[in-house]
């Protein structure tokens, strides 16, 4: 009798196991399903995601849109590609170093491009030169860009236009309150002027949690003409000479903003840009520097304007002595590519065509405020006021992070982030930080 119970228990267990494993991982049933990765909670693709049903209805292709937290996206994508699981058909990749890492798992898109836009050359003329350069690997195009962004400065117009503030500024610094500041010196003066901790007002908000101090430093360095790595000699660009001294000055600049001028809210050391936006909304910031392209629609929304007034925007001032025609760096380029293991190449391409359709790219600009690297679309978006002036001005004068073109990129970025964090929390001096970083990068490149 007991044996009977055991058998029954076993049968129930097996049944349960069968039942649960038979729940499909993806949704089946539709004739063609493609799986697309997306950065979870990314405001730039939210509008496009909302348009998906139209695409599905028009083509009969079912899109399995997967949201992966930004911090896990590259690790997960790479692991899946390396294990050749075939879990993803279309992947999103950024210039940071995804492009260098993924392309060998992807299929070249040259034929599709030629069919759609006549030739690869004519396609490249449609997008920004930097994007056209970043998407080519070993002579073939592996990626189609859909998102462009750069960090820029925002400022509270209400404060800057206040006559009392203007005259107080002139009295103290001897020149008119620059709206917005055009040089680093003006920026520091203005930030110092508006910093009033007792009133919970800070001159300059820069998110410095996690990877963000590195974003700031690399932006200013590229603007000053210092690449992290010289792509030709494969050496750190700031190991010695004038560039090293300039890099130390830049590191010193961030250090001084935090510890000498004290214009950055101390809590910024654990913040990302979403939290910085909340501080902005509380009226605690006169200026702020970050990836505001992702937040422009919010910053200009009635809710925000009624709380803190109109927002102004401008490129972050270029470091003195940097190459002419450049403002800063760390331009963001996000692209999509098709995974080699896909069984539905054509459906995947149809999705990409739809993703970069004018309507979708305009949706992206309208619903978040980010550009697309598609020249015609970005022009329209700028005219219609969907893009911030700061973004429109800074983007063509920016360059993407150089690490994106190196296979050692992730290791160098990890080292850079660690050193930049150490600088932010003052556990290393600016000079020591720059030298240590140069040494670490040289070691990584030697391996």
């Amino acid at each position: 009798m007991m044996k009977g119970i055991a058998t029954r228990a076993l049968v129930i267990l097996l049944g349960l196991v069968f039942l649960l494993t038979s729940i499909p991982a993806g949704s089946a049933g539709a004739p063609v399903t493609i799986t697309v990765t997306n950065r979870k909670g990314w405001r730039s693709t939210e509008g496009i995601k909302a348009n998906l049903p139209q695409f599905e209805k028009a083509t009969g292709i079912k899109v399995n849109w997967i949201d992966i937290p930004p911090g896990e996206l590259t690790a997960k994508t790479l692991a899946e590609l390396e294990a050749r699981t075939g879990a993803f058909d279309v992947i999103m990749a950024s210039v940071e170093f995804d492009l260098a890492a993924y392309y060998r798992y992807l299929i070249p898109l040259d034929e599709f491009i030629a069919k759609k836009w006549g030739s690869v050359a004519s396609f490249k003329r449609l997008i920004s030169p930097e994007a056209a350069r970043a998407i080519v690997w070993e002579g073939k195009v592996y990626y189609i860009p859909f998102h462009g962004n750069v960090q820029f400065l925002i400022y509270r117009k209400k404060l800057f236009e206040d006559p009392a503030e203007r005259s107080a500024f002139k009295q103290r610094f001897g020149y008119d309150l620059p709206t917005p500041p055009k040089t680093i010196k003006e920026l520091v003066d203005v930030a110092v002027f508006f910093t009033r901790p007792e009133k919970n007002l800070w001159g300059l908000g820069i998110p410095l949690g996690g990877k963000y101090p590195q974003h700031f430093l690399e932006h200013v360095m590229l603007g000053a003409g210092i690449d992290v790595v010289d792509l030709k000699t494969r050496k750190p660009d700031f190991a010695e000479g004038a560039k090293r001294d300039r890099a130390v000055e830049i590191a010193q600049f961030l250090f001084d903003l935090l510890y000498k001028y004290k214009v950055i809210p101390p809590g910024a050391k654990t913040m990302g840009h979403v939290e910085m936006r909340e501080i902005w909304k509380l009226g605690q910031l006169a200026m702020a520097f970050s990836w505001w392209g992702d937040h422009w629609d919010k910053l200009t929304s009635p809710e925000f304007v009624s709380a803190v007034g109109e927002v102004g925007s401008a490129p972050f001032p270029q470091w003195p002595g940097g190459p002419p025609g450049r403002s800063g760096g760390r331009m963001s380029i996000w692209t999509v590519g098709i995974v080699g293991t896909t069984k539905n190449k054509d459906a995947a391409w149809k999705f990409i065509e739809w993703l970069v359709s004018e309507e979708n790219l305009q949706t992206e600009a309208r619903t978040s405020g980010s550009a697309s690297h598609w020249i015609a679309v970005d022009k329209v978006s700028a005219e219609r006021g969907w893009l911030a002036k700061g973004l429109v001005e800074a983007l063509p004068k920016s360059v993407p992070p150089r690490l994106g073109f190196l296979k050692e990129g992730p290791e160098i970025v990890t080292a850079f982030i660690e050193e930049a964090q150490a600088l932010t929390v003052a556990s290393v001096s600016p000079k020591a930080m720059v030298d240590r970083l140069a040494k670490r990068i040289a070691e990584i490149l030697k391996k």
Binding site: K3, L16, V17, A25, D67, E72, P207, V274, E275
Partner: protein
């Protein structure tokens, strides 16, 4: 505790111990109930509301993750209990060298640092097409539960007197019949303890869930950890989710306390 100072000292000690254990819980609970303004200095939130809980409960992502966590935990419990009970019975009864060597091997498994297998386990699961499936994730958890379960369960079996079995063997019973008919009924408290242990080990697991899930099987720990790393910290809502995540644990809290006390000790001392 006689004398003038004894009683107040003990009372003070008890008070301090409770402050240590409960302060973060109470504070997070307050934040989870906070309305528009979060406190920026010592004090209570201005207004209290259940809106954050409503917000968390109506979020599809959250209740899916809760359901996933529970399904995976049940599955992991089933697999680990049903596979470890027969094995631990043999380990308890057999005198053979092979068995004691295997038992030591399981001890080795039990003390192994999980992190060392993070990428290989992903590859193996990919090969069996078990990534992002309930079965795959629960097997991932099971791997960590089985060794512990075997050691605990062996401790319980050691306490079951052997005389009964010996008479049953004389009647010609096989080990399987012995286990199901004679021994298991006596070891039921042990089984309950081990099942609970398995359930909660799986329910709280983070690393393997992170690695073996994509979207469909994302568990509560992975989802919650994601909130902090996304730089989208909405303290009210994630505090509310933290509070909600304790419900399965609280439901079995008294069992948990008593069985854990016994179970943990058997695992430690008798193994």
């Amino acid at each position: 505790m006689k004398g003038g100072w004894g009683v107040p000292l003990v009372a003070l000690a008890i008070f301090l111990l409770l402050v240590w254990a409960l302060t973060p819980v109470v504070y997070a609970m307050l934040i989870s109930l906070a309305g528009f303004d979060l406190p920026t200095k010592l004090g209570l939130p201005n207004d209290l509301t259940f809106a954050n809980y409503l917000d968390a409960l109506t979020d599809r992502e959250v209740y899916r993750a809760m359901a996933n966590s529970l399904i995976i935990a049940v599955l992991a419990t089933a697999i680990s209990t049903f596979s470890s009970i027969p094995a631990s019975y043999v380990f308890s009864r057999s005198q053979s060298r092979v068995a004691s060597a295997l038992l030591l091997l399981f001890l080795f498994f039990r003390l192994f640092p999980w992190i060392a297998l993070a990428f290989p386990i992903f590859l193996v699961m990919a090969r069996f097409r078990l990534l992002d499936t309930y079965l795959g994730v629960s097997i991932g958890h099971t791997v960590w539960i089985i060794p512990t379960a075997i050691w605990y369960m062996k401790g319980f079996f050691d306490l079951v007197p052997k005389e009964l079995e010996e008479s049953a063997v004389l009647d010609g019973a096989t080990p399987f019949v012995l286990l199901t008919k004679v021994v298991l009924p006596l070891a039921i408290p042990g089984m309950v303890a081990v099942s609970l242990l398995a359930f909660f080990s799986s329910y709280t697991e983070y690393l393997y869930s992170l690695i073996l899930t994509r979207v469909h099987t994302v568990t509560l720990p992975v989802l919650m950890a994601g909130y902090l790393s996304e730089f989208k910290v909405e303290w009210r809502k994630i505090s509310a989710i933290s509070m909600l995540s304790t419900i399965p644990m609280l439901a079995f809290y008294s069992y948990l306390l008593s069985y854990m006390r016994r179970g943990l000790l058997y695992g430690v001392m008798k193994g």
